[in-house]
Amino acid sequence: MSAETGLRPSEERIAAMVRQYEVERFYYDEAAILDAHRYDEWLGLFAEDANYFMPIRRTRMQRETDKEFTQPGEMAFFCDTKSLLAGRVAKLKSGRSWAEDPPSRTRHLITNVRIVRDSGRELEVESNFHLYRTRLNSEESSWIGSRRDVLRRVEGSFQIADRKIFLEQTVLLSRNLSNFF
């Protein structure tokens, strides 16, 4: 429904809906690729100049919450370029990456997708995720957080030009981060 006409949405609104649909579909496809362990395909979603960054979060008093997350240049859980991500993918495929052999079972749930800026060439998109992992018989990890991506428009789809991952944990409550977010 549209406030503008009361009958049919404006073209501008339709364009925004289509854009939202395309971004969401991109994320759902990405999640499916990750959960199917198709890591080469996943790597192909990233731009050559992409960065992949997961800062460390610290419990701080309310007046210091601006210092909650570390910044680029400080320590992080991930601080990768695309070539380093490619190294991680090669590691996972090597047949000797024991923390993922037998492979963990993962499920990526992506929600609350919000396009916060659109410069034409690139979109800035915030989304929430739940990455659920079980491993062997009894190990269970669950990570909830948000991602802030820069998506670049290419040939009718997107490339991830930058990804920042913010976890809702300070002390990480699992033994490793051998999966992608």
Binding site: E74, K91, R96, S97, E139
Partner: protein
């Protein structure tokens, strides 16, 4: 367990055998808390983390939460994070800056030095009769700093920090401190591995595992280096079979091989340094130039200049000499260990070099590190198997090089030279057993003084 624990039956330095109960028996864990973590000097944080008055970092000693706080006069105090009234924590943040610490239960407030300042209802409810000077935050018995590394001990009778560290422990910390004006990069990685703490400690001396455990990281360029396919000076891998039946294709990389000189330094109170010599581990991809400065040469001395392996300040402070980090292995319960990574860089490094070191640190170690992500499952599974009534009867084996290590004493250090061995782990467990007996400090020093052979 009501009968006393017979410590000497748990660890045999002669046979290189360890009773697996030490990895999961709750009574042994309780004894460790008292006899080791209740007495040893424990690393708290680095001075650069708390430069300004009121800056604090919350650390852990055994199961005691400790606030390490920079004072107005520039000194550092460490105090227990528990209200003197009814025990609530007076600080919940991991780090920050505070003017005072307020207990949110009844409102007692403390200065940054731990003195009790405010008591609500002091006149009305206490009739002004509470002696505030007697109810400050409990201070850690001794706090001291070695080249910026702040340690604390719960034991007022413990020897001074520099004596406790001895030549081996000091060299361990010098391997970071000698690089320049070292500061901690903001962001301490913290994560929990479901393993006993001793697996996470003894592994740091284990140079037998990288070529298997970390094969995927060395082979595929995940370390950020070119994949190394050149045949290594291969360890004899006959007998290794992948479950697919294929031979295990080993990477060639600087830290594995047979013609690979190692040096293990053994120190009093259980400190040790184990791993490759500086010349055999040369890895052009990591920042190594600091070793050749006049300052570093002088501090390290002739033996120290050879050492490029991993120091452990007993019990739980691992200095990683390659990445310039310090990792704590904090026991939480018999089956859980919290890992903390402190990353240090020379304040004067060019921005580019600093950024490179920081990136390397997060790529190699920590939960996302391509090395450490494969370690945790080994230790978790090993811990799990010590709970089975039959599995735990199988003795843990530390027999590689057993009895063949001739101990050379030179420059105040005791060392063993040779190929990959388990001497570092043996020394750690031997010392662990002496600590667990509750000896006097003199007796403990005697019992952990290296002999002629190991």
């Amino acid at each position: 367990m009501t009968t006393p624990i017979a410590i000497d039956e748990l660890v045999s330095l002669e046979r290189g055998e360890i009773d697996r109960r030490i990895y999961s028996d709750p009574a042994i864990f309780e004894l460790e808390m008292e006899k080791i973590f209740g007495r040893a000097w424990l690393f708290l944080c680095h001075e650069s983390q708390i430069p300004e008055p009121g800056d604090f970092f919350q650390s852990v000693m055994g199961r005691d939460n400790v606030l390490v706080v920079r004072q107005k006069d520039g000194t550092v105090k460490a105090m227990l994070n528990t209200c003197a009234h009814r025990g609530n924590a007076v600080c919940r943040a991991e780090e920050g800056n505070a003017k005072s610490f307020l207990c949110t239960y009844h409102g007692w407030s403390y200065g940054i030095d731990g003195r009790l300042l405010g008591v609500p209802g002091f006149k009305t409810f206490y009739n002004g009769q509470l002696d505030k000077t007697q109810h400050g935050l409990a201070q850690v018995a001794q706090v001291a700093s070695y080249k910026g590394f702040i340690f604390g001990t719960h034991d007022a009778t413990a020897p001074p920090l520099e004596d406790y560290l001895g030549a081996t422990g000091r060299l361990g910390l010098d391997l970071i401190a000698a690089r320049g004006e070292m500061v901690v990069v903001p962001g301490i990685q913290k994560f929990i591995i479901d393993c006993n703490w001793k697996f996470a400690v003894d592994n740091l001396f284990d140079w037998y595992h990288p070529q298997i455990t970390h094969a995927s990281a060395f082979q595929t360029g995940a370390l950020g280096t070119e994949p190394s396919r050149a045949p290594a000076e291969k360890i004899d891998m006959s007998g290794v079979n992948m479950d697919t039946g294929a031979a295990l294709d080993l990477p060639g990389m600087g830290i594995i091989g047979t013609k690979f000189d190692q040096v293990v330094v053994l120190g009093e109170y259980g400190h040790a340094i184990g791993g490759p010599t500086a010349s055999s581990s040369a890895n052009p991809d990591f920042e190594n130039a600091w070793r050749s400065t006049a300052q570093a040469r002088e501090v390290l001395g002739p033996v120290g200049a050879k050492v490029a392996g991993h120091p452990n300040i007993f019990p739980t402070s691992w200095v990683t000499s390659v990445t310039g980090q310090l990792s704590l292995r904090i026991p939480r319960d018999p089956g859980h260990t919290e890992i903390w990574w402190f990353t240090l860089v020379d304040r004067n490094l060019p921005r580019e070099t600093r950024d490179f070191m920081v990136t390397v640190a997060s790529r190699v170690f920590g939960p996302g590190g391509v090395l450490e992500q494969d370690d945790g499952e080994n230790w978790a599974q090993a811990t799990m198997q010590t709970r089975g009534i039959a599995s735990r009867r199988v003795k843990q084996q530390l027999t590689m090089g057993l009895g063949q290590g001739r101990i050379i004493k030179e420059g105040g250090l005791a060392r063993v030279e040779g190929l990959t061995s388990e001497h570092g782990q043996l020394w750690t467990y031997h010392s662990w057993a002496q600590w667990m007996k509750g000896l006097s400090w003199d007796e403990l020093r005697q019992a952990t003084t290296p002999g002629e052979f190991i």
